[in-house]
Amino acid sequence: MSQRIQNCFTAAGKAGSKVLIPFITAGDPDPDWTVAIMHALVAGGANLLELGVPFSDPAADGPVIQLASERAIEKQVDLHRVLEMVAAFRRQDQTTPVVLMGYMNPLERFGRRQFPAAAKQAGVDGLLLVDCPPEERGVLGEAMKAAGLDGICLVAPTTTRTRLAGITAVASGFIYYVSLKGITGSGQLSSPELEQPVRQIRALSDLPVAVGFGIKNADMAVAVAAHADAVVIGSALVEALSLADSEAKACEIATAFVAPVRKALDNTA
């Protein structure tokens, strides 16, 4: 497991607190602001950052993240640029883990064999490929293992017990439980329904469990955190950031978005 991810969850475990994972699309609203926004998220209380790699055809994402991707692509943000952003972030922050979340095709173009080592070198800790279930990883999986890059796996409400066993056998870093049947940013999350699936995951894996998709605010985060080790907030933050008209404003929004969630999580803990 990536040392940074492991340390992050160990520290939270010791402190009895929850890991807060904000998701932003790399390069949105402006590629030059992304690194500063990442630091601002950490300043607001984020423990692990999920950085979305823009893709033209994000079939698992809702309109908010799709539009963010389109804006970033328009500004020429590609995988090389995303790695530069992570490397720049690492110059000031060597502890906060960074996980890239995205789709296969940009990686295919970068080179499935080459990408994991390059990502590790830049300071990336884990990779979550939305459209690549574990059985399709192939050479990419081997290269990730060799580079020491965590392969974060998704588990969904529709995942059967048999599939779950296969997934937990290869997952590393943490398990990402998709809290609802739907796309990112949807709205029908019901936290009591999380209890049983999360328990099933824990029965098969010692990895921490993060829950995401559809968590929009502090109240929902607290409700979800009762069942999970980590909470992911994406679309709501991406939407808030899209309104920023300057780097300073974007950082202010980022910190102001994360801080109350952090506070609410800590108050319940």
């Binding site: 809702g62 295919e108 399709e136 998704l154 409400p157 529709t158 059967t160």
Partner: protein, 402 residues
């Protein structure tokens, strides 16, 4: 049996060599397992097969004839040209072979709601048609740009009781409609069956859609043997996603002497960058659930494509075509908008058959090919659809409004 597994592919994971597979989010994996299991069972079920053949005969109007296009052949001045008349099917194209099969499968799986993506609107119409007949709720996703250029098909779908949703994201064409249909499916996966319209998508779609369309090739093989006492020397079919081509090719794969030509849309020319020729000008990548040839930029972003024919305007292609290209079993070539339009007019005037602009690509190449062949040789072209839906497009290109 519904299919001859002459190639033995795909493997159990849906792979054709390095192509195919299941590149979808975890939420859909169980639905794909369920579909694979259901298809595996029903494809061997005598009653299901009987029902399907009855529908193909009495509802779709199969077998569709093979027609010797004498005047078209004489104009080419070489090999004899035969046309497989998929344009005579109910709803006017080969698409209904597949929607009939998937609609029945949805019914047997107890799914009352079906969704579909469509480019030219033919697959949307074929899905809405079958849904009406099987009393299923039907939602069709269609790019806003395509809705504009295929207004008649949109109205047909609505008349059939289907909902049509305009997709405005991305390039607002077929690929974006597919994304949106995937989003619907992932959200409503419990009660919804996704009828994919081509041999692309995650396993088992490429195999299943091929099998449902393989009736084209099986009939054509038998009909050519009856008519000519021999197999054709070459098969020609247009390739967007590639379902009509795959349906024609597959039963001939073991016939090593039969050459196969898949014709892609070169749009304004391959060198212009405005085309939809994934196999001729693309490279392997991952799109819409499978690894296959596609058109993308250096960052791996999927490119916007262009073709005069909405049905070919797609940046990917079925993974089995990628495999056939890689192994050299089939040849992939391309034809420009202008060449296709010329073929549209030529067939209409010489034979009194108005072809779809998609099929016109196959005609344009088949004609060139025949011209270079001997008079004792035979070229079989898949006339995958009729051109009524395209008359407005053709009129507009000639400066007329109807």
């Amino acid at each position: 049996m519904m299919t001859e597994d002459q190639s033995g592919l795909p493997d159990s994971g849906g792979h054709f060599g390095e192509f195919g597979g299941r590149f979808v989010s975890e939420t859909l994996m169980h639905a794909l397992d369920e579909l694979r299991e259901a298809y595996g069972r029903w494809r061997k079920d005598e009653e299901f097969i009987q029902r399907m053949y009855q529908d193909l005969a009495h509802y779709v109007g199969r077998p569709s004839p093979v027609y010797y296009a004498q005047r078209y052949s004489e104009a080419a001045g070489g090999a004899k040209i035969y046309l497989k008349r998929e344009d005579l099917n109910h709803t006017g194209a080969h698409k209904i072979n597949n929607t009939m099969g998937q609609g029945l499968l949805a019914q047997h799986m107890g799914k009352r709601r079906v969704i579909a993506e469509t480019g030219a609107g033919q697959h949307g119409v074929a899905s809405a048609t079958v849904a009406a007949r099987l009393n299923q709720t039907c939602q069709v996703y269609m790019g806003a740009v395509d809705i504009e250029r295929q207004a008649i098909n949109v109205f047909r779908m609505r008349l059939l009781g289907a909902g049509v949703t305009a997709v405005t994201s991305g390039s607002a064409t077929l690929k974006d409609a597919l994304n949106e249909a995937m989003r619907d499916w992932v959200t409503n996966v419990d009660d919804t069956f996704y009828i994919i319209g081509t041999v692309a998508g995650p396993h088992p779609y490429p195999e299943m859609v091929r099998d449902f369309n393989a009736v084209i090739g099986r009939e054509a093989r038998r009909q050519m043997l009856q008519m000519c006492d021999c197999l054709p020397d070459a098969l020609v079919a247009c390739v967007g996603g590639g379902s009509n081509a795959m349906g024609l090719f597959h039963p001939f794969i073991a016939d090593a002497d039969v050459q196969m030509f898949g014709v892609e849309a070169a749009g304004r020319g391959l060198e212009s960058g405005e085309h939809a020729a994934s196999l001729c000008a693309g490279r392997p990548g991952v799109l819409h659930g499978c690894r296959t040839y596609l058109l993308d930029d250096d960052a791996g972003q999927i490119m916007q494509t262009h073709s005069v024919s909405a049905g070919l305007d797609y940046p990917g292609v079925g993974p089995e075509h990628s495999w056939l290209k890689e192994t050299g079993r089939a040849n992939y070539v391309s034809v420009t908008d202008d060449e296709a339009l010329a073929a549209f007019h030529q067939l209409t005037r010489l034979e009194g058959i108005m072809p779809a602009l998609e099929s016109s690509h196959a005609l344009a190449y088949g004609y060139k090919l025949a011209a270079e062949m001997r008079p004792d040789q035979k070229v079989l072209i898949n006339l995958s659809g009729r051109g009524d839906k395209d008359v407005q497009t053709v009129a507009a290109l000639e400066g007329m409004t109807l």
